[in-house]
Point group: C2
Chain length 285, copies 2
């Protein structure tokens, strides 16, 4: 797909070694803030440029504050470069025009890259389970980015998302009481999936806690992604589940499987759960 | 417990803002390399000193190379400090005496701290399941640090570890074929658990893949820990499970529950699995 939305909106320009510039667009927003996975994908583009290995194996982001639409800086610091693995830290910064960006850090990530095609020889494998069971896409519910409080998410327009009708009860009669959500997902403009896209996919479905009756902004504090294989073209299947909502925090565990039935990505994020009155905030912290 | 092994061996001395020194001991080794959780606990001590909030909420470490016993430097860089959350990056460095430590980075961590007691008011809670079902400690198998290849782990002497007899088949008749391991765990010297100890606990049981017939060194590439509550005194219950061993990597998901039956910690690590001939290596990469 020429001029794919994802490629355009995550592009980085190299200014010097470890220094990049990018433009944040509101097209991947949830409410007034950019989706955390979208911001991480931007860092993955810069990390992929700065590191010698082609594939992200694992990356963690800690979210500090949401950037505004417009220009932002990306800085990459290489930590280590070995035969089969290399790692680096990256951050996205934004400040007033002309500022020195001090205090303007929006998120920080730590990543290790590898060559996913080169590592498997002679190693054992074991898979417990398989892709999530989903009705065909045409029998699922279209995710349209609408939120419980009446808001909407622009990111809903970037994806073709078909949600399992046994989940997202909050959007129909009422919460299911089960904090899980699953569905088929692919980019709306037909651009095929790759590894950086997985950062967005695992963060693009509605929060699991909506089906516990929680409404409002569920900001990501931390997101860790493990990549196991480069995704095949076609639909992805994603399933996200939470088991513990305690102390004001919830984990969301996601799995992404590709059209060939292979596990592509696992993620876990820690998110903050709002108090039970519906509240919507623009700040992450 | 005065002079507890854990407090002594994870102590850091502050040299200047963000700069600490520590001494790595081989008492927490697995084979010839220090346990990754032990090294992370050292970074958590320095992070706790440098950040205004008392409790680690989430931390991720990427492991680069194992340090040798002896002096090491810890550097902390503050990223953000807000009302309810603060975050920082930390790294452990070691080099030849008199070197400038360039290239001597052993691990890098990214952490967010909070006050775990202050956040829960008015927020919903949900717990799917409970502590793992374990026979009483006296009916479990004593973990003694022995490894499949005949090696041993000094870390085994730091803990009183009682393993579920339905796991660790590799240490008795033969592998169970199920990549999970669980048991009771507490420090051998009676020192009660706290949050930094959780970094060691989730990394102190034998690798799950030993029960798939894998033998040898299973180095941690990345470890992420979420903390949900300060642990009560007494025995901890830990359960670790893997679902996907693919492409030469496996995830280990751990849960730690305290003596009051509360979920204290969740972790996921990504580890590298050796080829099927038994091989033991001193390098992590």
């Amino acid at each position: 797909v020429a001029d794919s939305e994802f490629d355009t909106d995550t592009a980085v320009s190299r200014l010097a070694e470890g220094s990049y510039t990018t433009t944040i667009t509101p097209r991947w927003n949830i409410g007034a803030a950019p989706n955390g996975g979208y911001l991480l994908a931007i860092l993955l583009r810069a990390l992929g440029d700065a590191l010698p290995h082609p594939d992200v194996l694992t990356v963690t982001a800690h979210y500090v504050r949401p950037p505004a639409p417009g220009r932002a800086a990306v800085e990459v610091e290489r930590i280590h470069s070995g035969r089969s693995l290399s790692s680096a830290s990256a951050r996205l910064l934004q400040g007033a025009p002309g500022s020195d960006l001090e205090g303007g850090e929006c998120l920080r990530a730590l990543a290790t890259f590898t060559d996913l095609d080169r590592e498997a020889d002679g190693r054992p494998s074991y898979v417990d389970g398989g892709p999530p069971g989903l009705p065909p896409p045409d029998e699922c519910l279209r995710g349209d980015g609408r939120m419980p409080g009446g808001g909407s998410a622009a990111i809903g327009e970037r994806f073709d998302l078909r949600l399992h009708p046994g989940t997202v009860g909050w959007a129909r009669g009422g919460p299911t009481g089960r904090p899980e959500v699953g569905g088929w997902i692919r980019l709306a403009d037909g651009r095929e999936p790759d590894l950086p896209l997985m950062a967005v996919v695992v963060d693009a479905l509605p929060p699991t806690v909506f089906d516990l009756g929680v409404a409002g902004w569920v900001p990501t504090i931390e997101l860790t992604l493990h990549l196991r294989a480069r995704p095949a073209p076609g639909w992805l299947r994603c399933w996200i589940r939470s088991r513990f909502l305690t102390g004001g925090y919830v984990e969301e565990d996601a799995e992404v499987w590709d059209a060939d039935g292979r596990l592509v990505a696992m993620s876990r994020q820690l998110a903050r759960v709002p108090r039970m009155r519906s509240e919507r905030r623009r700040e992450w912290r």
